[in-house]
Amino acid sequence: MTTDLELDPRLDDLLRRTFDAVADQTPLADPGLAPVLRLDTITEAGRPRWRRPLGVAVVGSAAAVAVAVALVAGGPTDRSPADRTATLATAPPVATTELPAEAGPPADTTYQVKVWEDLVTEALAAGGLVSDTGAAARGWTAVPPQPWHLTSYMAQAGEPGEPPNTLIDLELFEPGRYRDDPVWAQQVAGAPTPGEAVPEGLLFLLPDGAGTVRTAVVVAEHGMAKIRVDGDPVPATDRLAAAARRVAAGSRGFDSAG
């Protein structure tokens, strides 16, 4: 079926030269500043404790020193104080996120932070009562279900008069679906066996190309909650993480009402 087209020498040559040329122009960060992935802190003594909220993986990129922090902030399913103490005891003495100087000052007091925290609060207040229609009325945009059984809610926040610079994104699955879907299981957690490698409550803080942490993703009960700040100023990492956790916790209501 494809043989005739695959063997078109001109098209073959064009594609190969194009891909090589584009790939050669892919900016590459300084490998000397590449992240150091601290697996022990992510997995608590090396192995994740499934279905328990566990940690925060902060993986820096070029300009940021990557740190994996065993965090005890709690999540959708909280842990006992004893567990938290144990985590602290086993965690390496890395408790802060090292952001590059160019990341700018923390923006805890800015209006922008307040706006998106208010938005999260509003969404959570709607909780289990919110329907697709209600979500839209509250500024959440329901994206039609996708073939992979995903319903996504998106909301934005920003300063008055400015383009929205924060995306709050809920990716919700039908109950039980993502654990049954090997493609999603692999995409979300690289799990060869669906359902075994998606530790609920796990929080990822992902920096952008400049090493600034702008994205927080939390594995929720039936999906993923993601907050991404596209503009400046960038909120402090702990505020970003806390908001993502709150969205994840609130996603149960969305899911059950959807």
Binding site: A21, L39, P164, Q187
Partner: protein, 158 residues
Amino acid sequence: MVQLDAPPAVAPLDALYEAHRHRLLRLAHLLTGSHALAEEIVQEAFVVLCARPGPIEHGPAYARGIVVNLSRKAQRRRGVEERHALRAQVLPVVLPPELDCTWAAVRRLPPDQRAVVVLRFYEDASLQDIADLLGHPLGTVKSHLHRALRKLAKEITP
């Protein structure tokens, strides 16, 4: 084999990162058309590898699979995000006119077709490998490739 469940195993994953990050970044760039998105995808792929329990066999191939799947997902998601005026950063790529035309045509392909073309002509992957990587039947991959090449031929060749 990369052993992930003991402290000394940190080094192998670091080594995997050092050895393959650039290649994965290029692949993600070709699949998504966005360097910024590619950076995020590769980072996320390694976070996924970190979170995965037990040893990882065929680490480079496994990482490549994650990057390909995340890139396909990102492409689907980008359509949604663009409707919300949140566009992924696209750095300009300067190419000769002929290649620029080809690159533009590739970027217009649907995610699955684009993935097949990139894997076939950049990674030199066999059709069976592509089918395994994407989780599609071989016939579906052939169909994607056929349709993609037909579109490209129509757009590129005079």
